[in-house]
Each structure stands twice: as structure tokens, then as C-alpha cells.
Symmetry: C2
Subunit: 292 residues, 2 copies
């Protein structure tokens, strides 16, 4: 069993850290939010006030922070990287642009430590169940060394490449599909409303047909609610589709649909809906083509 | 049991007509292709050389032709409408623009005959199994009168509205989702290729996750084949997304994703791939961002 520094005890990070503790690892947690540290203490881990203290001598560092900026802050500014055991494995789970993940990996490897680019998907539900999808890239031997830790957090574990950035690119393309599918569902349902159709019937027809998508079935019903619960915010897709477009930009690959979808999430955010459920991107369509 | 005139004995029309004959109806078939008439004779129906003869005194007319132009040619130019029994039901199954379906319905009803706007989805497989999805609009009493015939052809029968054009609009939105999802799958897989990732693994990851769509799972594998079988052609989506955009135009509803997807199908068609499988829309992306 390893000593694992866990940075980023948010909605997903908490159950991931708790699952690692339950599996018998010594989980040394760190987060800027004191409530998160209290939570960790009550759930099998050991909280530390600073990332450097949490990382001291640890065999592995899991970064479940919000973005690349925060990952760099923990690793390089707060001094976690240099505090780790000499051959420790750094596992980057945050959703980062591929170029950023690659750059972070290079700086980690320059200290002789090992790096796994390992973004996840599956949300809080998957994090709690330990059933996340993990899209990991690393040299084969490093992937093998990290596998026991990764398997505690996710049940769908894919080794998608040898180099840092590959994992981030797989997650980026995942977000491309998710974002476009949400916007497509909004475009379809808004047109149905505009045409005076019963949109509940539309969801019933399309959801189980060739027109269906996971997002249509999941977000579609929330598009028809007045004030749906927030499972993931509009501004998350403003950020993630931004990463998608950056990846297309840097690889010189035009992404027509992702670019259009990004504009719609931006519009919804500009309408003041950034912190609302991402299904509310439909409000951008409704603003332009209201129901009679 | 009714006498049913069936116009349009193509790949889907043949099994639909055969299922009606199997159910005990007298099926009077008509098609411009003589081979289709021979096929019908061998499969329980009675072929006629002209639409007018096939329609003479029939209780119902099923139009499974390619588009609104062909439906109008059968009904109005070939004289099928006036040849039908006085209170016959005309069932329009072709994919038509909502405004066109509404106009056809008005002309049918002007002769005191009844009209059901009843586009279908489910492809040849669904047509053979009698398991098509049928998105039907008509006054409730007319829908009820047509139901015994519709139920022979489809197992997922929805009464989506009272007026002609509603069924066509539901099918139009269905095609919006299908077309955008195919183009999104192409955009995602082409970016994966460009980034040097294993696209078979990508399909495995995304297909059963929040990034998944029916089209990703169905067309995705064919996007990775050199010369896939044609289940539906690129030019079908050039046509259908054209209908989608016309519907958006006439209702003044902007359709950003459908418009972008249409451009990509047009590009693939312009590359000479119009009769290839619609999965080959990915070639438009590959042309712009080739794999290294």
C-alpha cells in the first residue's frame, strides 16, 4: 500500500480520495477549502494545510484540481513536486489542454519522477462508485506502476498512448462530443418548441432511436424543466470547448461543430446563465427563436 | 381488410408493401421500375402499370416515394388521388419538408379524402421487421382510421399532432439530430487521427459513455473502413439537412449545428462521394486535416 498525496478535494475528488483510503492507501489530502480537509479526516484520510506537507515523501500524487493552472500551482509553486519521493508517480486527472498536460509531464519527468496523463470522466456518480472512465497515457512501465491506484478510482481504464498529452487529447475529444451533443439536443428541442410540437413526445421518439445520444437522454429532460438541478454548469463547457478549440488550433484541425457549439455556450453564459445547468444552453436558442 | 394502393416499391417500400399483403390487405402496387412490380407479384401484391390504375377505388394510398415532388406526381399528375374511393385515406410516408407535407395534405383534403402525414424511420431493417418508427399527424379520428394500416408497418407509432406538417417536422428534427451526430462523430474521429490516437480505442471509450450517440456507434466503425458498405448515402443527408434548414428558415429558427453539418455533407458530395456511405463525410475532414 502506498502513501498518496491527493490534491483537489472537490465534488469528484472527495469520493476518489475516500475510495483510495478505503482500499488501504495512506491518503494525504490537500485543498484550499478547510471544509474539504475536515471532510477528508472524517473519511479515512489525513489532511495537510499545504500541498508541500501533504506531498512529503509520498509515492504518488493525484491531481484532481480544476485545471492546468491549479495543477501547476500545486506542483511547482507550492513545492509538491520536489517534496515527493524520488521516483514518485504524478497522476494528472484534471481536464487540461493536451499541450498543457504535455508541458507539465515534461517538467515532472525532468525531476526523474514519473508522470501519467490520466483525465477522467463519469462525474460524481462514477467517482463515488469507483467506476470512472480513465483515459491514461504514459510509458507502458509507468502505466503498469500506476495501474493499482487508477483501478481503485475507475473501472474503465484505457491506456491510450505512451506520451503525456495523449490522455488529455482523448478527454478533449470526449468533451467535443459531449458539448456538441448537448447543443444539438438544444437545437432540436428548441426547433420543436418553435414549431409547436410536444417536446416530451419528441424526447420519447428520438431517445431510443437512431437520433439518440447519451446527452439527449440525460440533458433533454432538464432542458424542459424551468429550473433544473445543476449537475454540470454552462461555464464548464465554455471552458472545455475552449480547450477543444485550442487543441484543434494547435493541431491545425478545423472543428466546425465544436466551434458553433462553443458560441452557443458562450451565448448562454453571456445571458447570465454560466452557473446554471449546462442543459440551459437551450435558452440561447429560445432567446433567438421564442415559442409563440 | 382494405384495398391499399402502394406507391414507391424501393428498398424500404418493398418490405412495407409485403407486410401489408401478409396482414391480409389487397395491395395494389405501382412503381416506375418494372423489376419492382415483378417483385411485388412474387410477394403477395398485385402490380399495376400506372398509379391511376393501382389507385382505382382503393381505400388507402401509401406514398413511400423518395420526396415531395414524387408524391405530388403520383397524386396529382398521374391522377391517383381522383381515382381513390371517395373517403380514402392518403398516408404520406416520404420524408418531405413540413411546408410541402402541409400543402399536399390541403390538396388531398380539398377532395374530401383524408390525409395522414406519416414519415417513418428505422431503415430497411425496420421496414422488413414491421418495426418502423412512424411519426404521424392527422385529426384524431383520421389517425384512428389509419392506425390498423400504420401498425402493420411500424411498431413505434406516435400521434404527434393534428395537422399535416407536424409529422414531417418531427421527422425533420429527427434528421437534424442524425445528421449532426454523424458529422460530430466524423469531427471527433478525424481529430483523433490527426493527433495520432488509436481511433478504434476512441470508439470503444466513447461509445458506451456520456460522449456516445447511436450514430457514433453505428457509423463510427464504418468511418474507419476503407470502403464501407452503403447503408444510406452522403447525398441523402445533403437532401435531408437541406429540408432541416428550410424548416428552420420558414419558422425563423437559427440552426447553427445543422447548418455546419450540412456544409460538411455538401463538401463530401462535392469531393465526389455523394453516393458513398454517409459515414464518409469524415473524408471532408481528412481532406482538410490529413493524418501525418
Amino acid at each position: 500500500m502506498a502513501t498518496i498525496c491527493f490534491a483537489g478535494l472537490g465534488a469528484m475528488g472527495r469520493p476518489m480520495a475516500a475510495n483510495l483510503a478505503k482500499a488501504g492507501h495512506a491518503v494525504h489530502g490537500t485543498d484550499v477549502n478547510p471544509a474539504a480537509l475536515d471532510w477528508l479526516k472524517a473519511n479515512g484520510g489525513t489532511p495537510f494545510a499545504t500541498a508541500k506537507e501533504a506531498a512529503a515523501g509520498a509515492d504518488a500524487l493525484v491531481l484532481m484540481v480544476v485545471n492546468a493552472d491549479q495543477a501547476e500551482a500545486v506542483l511547482f509553486e507550492a513545492g509538491a513536486l520536489d517534496a515527493l519521493a524520488p521516483s514518485a508517480i504524478v497522476i494528472l486527472c484534471a481536464t487540461c489542454a493536451p499541450a498543457r498536460a504535455a508541458a507539465i509531464g515534461a517538467k515532472v519527468e525532468a525531476t526523474q519522477r514519473r508522470f501519467v496523463d490520466a483525465p477522467v470522466s463519469g462525474g460524481v456518480v462514477g467517482a463515488e462508485a469507483g467506476s470512472l472512465t480513465i483515459m491514461a497515457s504514459a510509458p507502458t512501465s509507468v502505466f503498469a506502476a500506476a495501474e493499482p491506484i487508477l483501478k481503485v478510482m475507475g473501472s474503465r481504464l484505457f491506456h491510450v498512448g505512451e506520451k503525456a498529452g495523449d490522455g488529455a487529447m482523448v478527454k478533449t475529444i470526449n468533451q467535443l462530443l459531449c458539448g456538441v451533443h448537448i447543443a444539438a439536443a438544444a437545437e432540436a428541442l428548441a426547433l420543436g418548441e418553435r414549431a409547436g410540437l410536444d417536446t416530451k413526445v419528441l424526447l420519447d421518439i428520438y431517445g431510443s432511436s437512431a437520433a439518440g445520444s447519451w446527452m439527449l437522454n440525460n440533458r433533454g429532460p432538464r432542458m424542459l424543466m424551468d429550473d433544473p438541478p445543476v449537475t454540470s454548469a454552462v461555464d464548464i463547457f465554455v471552458k472545455d470547448l475552449g480547450i477543444v478549440l485550442d487543441a484543434g488550433h494547435s493541431t491545425r484541425a478545423p472543428l466546425f461543430l465544436a466551434a458553433a457549439a462553443h458560441q452557443l455556450f458562450l451565448a448562454a453564459s453571456g445571458m447570465g446563465l454560466g452557473s446554471r445547468d449546462d442543459s440551459q444552453v437551450i435558452e440561447a436558442y429560445r432567446a433567438m427563436a421564442p415559442k409563440d
